[in-house]
Structures are given as structure tokens and as C-alpha cells.
């Protein structure tokens, strides 16, 4: 047994913001192992320049954002190609955002509606200035050449 046990000192220190009360910087970071699971075909589709939705074979409801099971009747849905042209259902221009997206401001968010499709799709619209977007405006899907396997591999431009 050591005669004088002692912790090793380090120069790690702590970032201190205030002393009354004591406020310190408390760092936290994590990499998740995230599976797109049943949504995976959608993200593969983006890499192939396809925008996939899903359709319920039982009640014919067609989803502009895919889901593996129908929210109306509970049946398993089938993958369908969505048209690559649609219309702006609603929109906004964000001048602020969550920290992750702050550097990208201002950016335009749109919900896209497609002919013959019952639900919508959330995406970015580029190539327009604030004030140039209108509900009903025709828009066309474009895909990143180098996929990131994120929903942002697809975005829209004026048709």
C-alpha cells in the first residue's frame, strides 16, 4: 500500500463564467448510431435521383412523405415514385434558426404538394429571393450529386 495516496494533478482545468453562483462550461457530445430502418429506401432513392413516397394498397392513400404503415387503415404501404414537380403549399423565410442552421440563414422552407398525392413534403427552396415565393408556385426537385444520405439530398427550385 502506498504511504501517501494522491491523485495525479492535470492541467485540464474548467472554463469558468462566473463565481457567484459558480457557472462553468459543461461539454457534452455524442455520435449516435442511427438507422433509417424502414425509411431507408427513401434515402437510397435520393442518391438515385428518385423522390419516393408511399401508397396504401388498401385505401389508396398516398403519402408525400413516406411511412411504412398507413395511418388511416394500418396496412403496410408500398413505395411509389413521386412526381419531381409540385407546388408550394406554404412557405417561410427563416432569418434565424437552431444553432446548427444559423449560418445558413436566410433560407426558405416550403411544404410541397404533388398532384394525386394526399400529403405533403417539407424541403428547402433555393434560387429565389425573399418575397418572390407564392403559394401555388410550381417547383421542381433537384438532387445533390454527392449524396449525404440526409433528407436535404433533395431540394427544390422554381420550375
Amino acid at each position: 500500500m502506498a504511504r501517501k495516496p494522491k491523485l495525479q494533478e492535470t492541467e485540464k482545468g474548467t472554463v469558468l463564467f462566473n463565481v457567484d453562483p459558480i457557472i462553468i462550461k459543461d461539454h457534452y457530445e455524442v455520435d449516435y448510431i442511427h438507422s433509417y430502418a424502414q425509411d431507408s429506401p427513401f434515402f437510397r432513392g435520393l442518391a438515385e435521383g428518385r423522390l419516393l413516397g408511399s401508397r396504401c394498397p388498401s385505401c389508396d392513400y398516398t403519402y408525400g412523405t413516406p411511412r411504412a404503415h398507413c395511418m388511416r387503415c394500418g396496412d403496410k404501404t408500398e413505395w411509389v415514385d413521386l412526381p419531381l414537380e409540385g407546388r408550394v403549399h406554404t412557405y417561410t423565410t427563416c432569418y434565424f434558426g437552431g444553432e446548427e442552421f444559423l449560418e445558413e440563414t436566410p433560407f426558405h422552407l416550403i411544404l410541397v404538394e404533388f398532384d394525386g398525392v394526399d400529403t405533403l413534403f417539407l424541403s428547402r427552396l433555393i434560387g429565389v429571393e425573399p418575397g418572390e415565393i407564392e403559394i401555388g408556385m410550381r417547383v421542381r426537385a433537384k438532387f445533390r450529386r454527392l449524396s449525404q444520405f440526409k433528407v436535404t439530398d433533395v431540394y427544390f427550385v422554381p420550375a
Binding site: 462566473n18 406554404t90 427563416c94 434565424f96 434558426g97 444553432e99 444559423l102 433560407f107
Partner: protein, 418 residues
């Protein structure tokens, strides 16, 4: 099911940051305020509790509910956390209601908190946006103000709602708060002030949106027998309703309006519902609570409302969901002055979330506390002697708590007891 009453309530003054008090201390502060109001309620009479806080990210302490329970000295009594985004406080109140109504408890404490100052405002916005689908929504530019902006943009398109009408909500709520000593941001504003504030997500400006807060709130619920022992001013919970909707705005259906008793299908011919312009969960919650409380015409049968106005637009949309006016008439409703203090039905007499702040897990309980004091007629007592905001002879009120993009919504009807 038994009748359930609120017998006491307490809140902390909401602030951008309370660095000298952690969540346990704030809950204790609100709890002690409530206990001081009803000296006949002894700690040993409390059978258990329900806790609400929204975000493990803000708290970064799992099982924080039990830590609050521990700090209040309520261990080893039963307790559990309920979570439903921005509606967590409303769900907490209703879960405590369930505990007493079922006969499992005679006295149940509902407490909630949030400590949003632990990150910067923009990191906080990122956390909140994680309450949107992280596969399909969040990565596109996760930002709740953006989502609400898209919803109200469609509301404007469908119904002709204007940004000036939205600004009137901000003017009203910040103005009411001038007489609420608990409020975080009381302000005398004009429509011009609201419109000339920095644009956050078009058409919502900085003054169309509530802020981040630290705070806690508590309501104590009791059975009739217990309530009679504790207070001579109990307030009865006469209706509870809860609704939900799809997580993704994109998935909202385009069906027919869910009608309240005073509405007709002809009112809404051709209207696709809820789309992204209305909150189906709010309508479902209201319908359920009205049926339970026997309310057929809410505008006439309610004396005031405390509702979720994290955005001026959501207040206008909620007038419609609650059936105070028809769908599409929410803008006109505020323009004509109905929800003002001197109007037919004061909405957010406290100043709402816009002016009081929105420490998420505490918010629904704060709204219930304000409604409880309104119905007791004790606003002056709890507002430093200023009873400007006391709704004269208030007998029945509604509390509305709301999450996500209208993803989970609670409506609770309160009325004078005994």
C-alpha cells in the same frame, strides 16, 4: 370518477435565467408558495405527485422529477414524470386529476419546471426543434418559428388573416402583463412596434414569439373531502380533454372539420381540415372537455381563457379550435376586441406565454395557477395588490396547453367549486 378540485397553486417569477436556483430549488419555491396559501394542508396529507419537464437536453439530468420529489421532502410517496412537449404542464395537471378522480390519491401535487438558460438561445431552439421528425423535418432547417410561420402563412392564404391582426395579440398580451408582477416581459406596444421588430421567420417577428425562460409552477389537487378540509375557495376541474396530431406537418390530413355543437357543416363547405392551418388536436381536446363540462356555446359559457400563445398566430388559430369563432374568423375576432380585458371573453388576461415566458414543463401549470386565482377572485392578493387583471365575477375558465406543431394539446375547464 370523483370530482377533483384545485386547492392551491404557486409559481416562480419566470426569468431568462435563474442561475442562483436550480430546478429543484425553483419547484420548492413554487411549492412553498402554494403551501403557505393553505396552512390547513399539511405535508402528510399529500399522497403523491406528478412532475413535468420537457427536455432531457435542457435538464441534462435524467430522473430529475424524482430529484424534485426528493428536494420537496415527498419521498417515499409515489411520483412520476409526464412529458408531452409544450403541453407537458397541461398533461401534468390532467395526470394529477386522473390520480385523484380514480380514487388512488386524495391529494396530489402537480409540479413542473424548465431550465432553458442552460444553453444559448439558438442552441435552445435546436433542442426544441428536435421535437420534430429527426429523419424528415429537423435536418431541413429545424426551427419551430419556421414551422409556425408556414402554418400561419397558409392560414393567411385560406382566410385572409393579416399580420396586423397577429400583432394585436402581441399588443394585448404584453399590455395585460403590465399588471402581472410574475410576467417576464410586460410591455406597452403598438402594432408598428411588433411589425418593425426583427423578422425571425416571415411573417413572424421577434415580438410575435415568446422567449426562453427558467421557472417552475405547482398546482395542488384534491378530492372533495380533502378540499373541504383544506380551503373554502376550491376550484373544480369540470372538464378535461386531450388531442393529438401527426408529428410531421406534412402528414396533416385534408378532411372535414370536427364540429362543435354550435357549428354546422355548411359553415365549412370546401374547407380542407385541418391542413396545416388549424390544430385538430386542439379541437378534439376542446370538444372532449366541453362535453364533460356541459358547455355548448363556449363564447357565452366561459368567462376567460388562458391559452397557448407561444406565437401570436397560434393564439388566433386557437380561438377557432376552441370554437370562440368560426374557423377563419380568428383574425377578425381579435380585431373586434373580443379577447381583450374589456371584451366578451378575456383571453390570456395574465399576458400569456408571450409576456409571462414559457419554461416549457411549467407553462401549463402556470396557466392553471393564473386561472385558479381568477376563479377564486384572488388575483389582487397574488399580484402584489393589483387587481386590474381580475375578471369580474369569473365563474368558469379554460386552460389550454399545446405542444409541437399542435401535436399534443390539452384543454381543462375550471369552475368555482362547492
Amino acid at each position: 370518477m370523483r370530482d377533483v378540485y384545485i386547492v392551491a397553486a404557486g409559481i416562480t417569477k419566470f426569468a431568462r435565467a435563474r442561475p442562483k436556483a436550480d430546478f429543484r430549488y425553483m419547484v420548492k419555491e413554487a411549492f412553498d408558495y402554494a403551501m403557505r396559501d393553505v396552512p390547513k394542508l399539511k405535508p402528510e396529507m399529500i399522497d403523491g405527485s406528478v412532475c413535468s419537464y420537457f427536455s432531457d437536453h435542457f435538464t441534462r439530468q435524467l430522473m430529475a422529477g424524482i430529484m424534485a420529489q426528493d428536494y420537496l421532502g415527498l419521498c417515499s410517496k409515489p411520483s412520476k414524470r409526464v412529458e408531452g412537449g409544450g403541453a407537458s404542464g397541461g398533461l401534468c395537471l390532467q395526470t394529477a386529476y386522473d390520480a385523484v378522480a380514480s380514487g388512488r390519491m386524495e391529494v396530489c401535487v402537480a409540479y413542473g419546471f424548465e431550465t432553458m438558460s442552460r444553453v444559448t438561445t439558438w442552441k435552445g431552439n435546436e433542442f426544441i426543434a428536435l421535437a420534430s421528425d429527426t429523419n424528415f423535418d429537423y435536418p431541413v432547417g429545424g426551427f419551430y418559428t419556421g414551422y409556425y410561420a408556414m402554418m400561419v402563412r397558409r392560414h393567411m392564404y385560406e382566410f385572409g388573416t393579416t399580420v396586423e391582426q397577429m400583432a394585436l395579440v402581441s399588443v394585448k398580451n404584453h399590455g395585460n402583463a403590465l399588471h402581472n408582477p410574475w410576467a417576464q416581459y410586460p410591455m406597452k406596444l403598438t402594432v408598428d412596434d411588433v411589425r418593425s421588430a426583427p423578422m425571425v421567420a416571415d411573417p413572424l417577428t421577434r415580438l410575435d414569439i415568446c422567449v426562453m425562460s427558467d421557472g417552475a409552477a405547482v398546482c395542488v389537487l384534491a378530492s372533495e373531502d380533502a378540499a373541504r378540509e383544506i380551503t373554502d375557495k376550491p376550484i373544480k376541474i369540470s372538464g378535461v380533454g386531450t388531442g393529438t396530431d401527426t408529428m410531421r406537418l406534412a402528414d396533416r390530413p385534408h378532411d372535414e372539420v370536427i364540429l362543435l355543437p354550435h357549428e354546422n357543416p355548411e359553415d365549412y363547405r370546401g374547407l380542407k381540415y385541418p391542413g396545416v392551418h388549424s390544430f385538430r388536436a386542439g379541437r378534439v381536446a376542446a370538444k372532449m372537455a366541453y362535453e364533460m363540462a356541459g358547455i355548448r356555446d363556449p363564447l357565452r359559457e366561459l368567462d376567460f381563457i388562458e391559452l397557448y400563445d407561444a406565437y401570436t398566430s397560434s393564439e388566433i388559430q386557437t380561438y377557432e379550435d376552441l370554437g370562440l369563432c368560426r374557423y377563419g374568423e380568428g383574425g377578425k375576432f381579435i380585431q373586434e376586441g373580443y379577447p381583450r380585458m374589456d371584451g366578451d371573453i378575456p383571453v390570456n388576461p395574465s399576458g400569456g406565454l408571450l409576456a409571462c415566458g414559457h419554461p416549457i414543463g411549467a407553462t401549463g401549470l402556470m396557466q392553471a395557477a393564473f386561472a385558479f386565482w381568477q376563479l377564486q377572485g384572488t388575483i389582487g392578493k397574488h399580484f402584489s395588490g393589483d387587481d386590474t387583471l381580475q375578471v369580474p365575477d369569473a365563474r368558469r375558465g379554460l386552460v389550454h396547453s399545446h405542444a409541437g406543431t399542435g401535436t399534443c394539446i390539452t384543454v381543462t375547464i375550471l369552475e368555482r367549486g362547492f
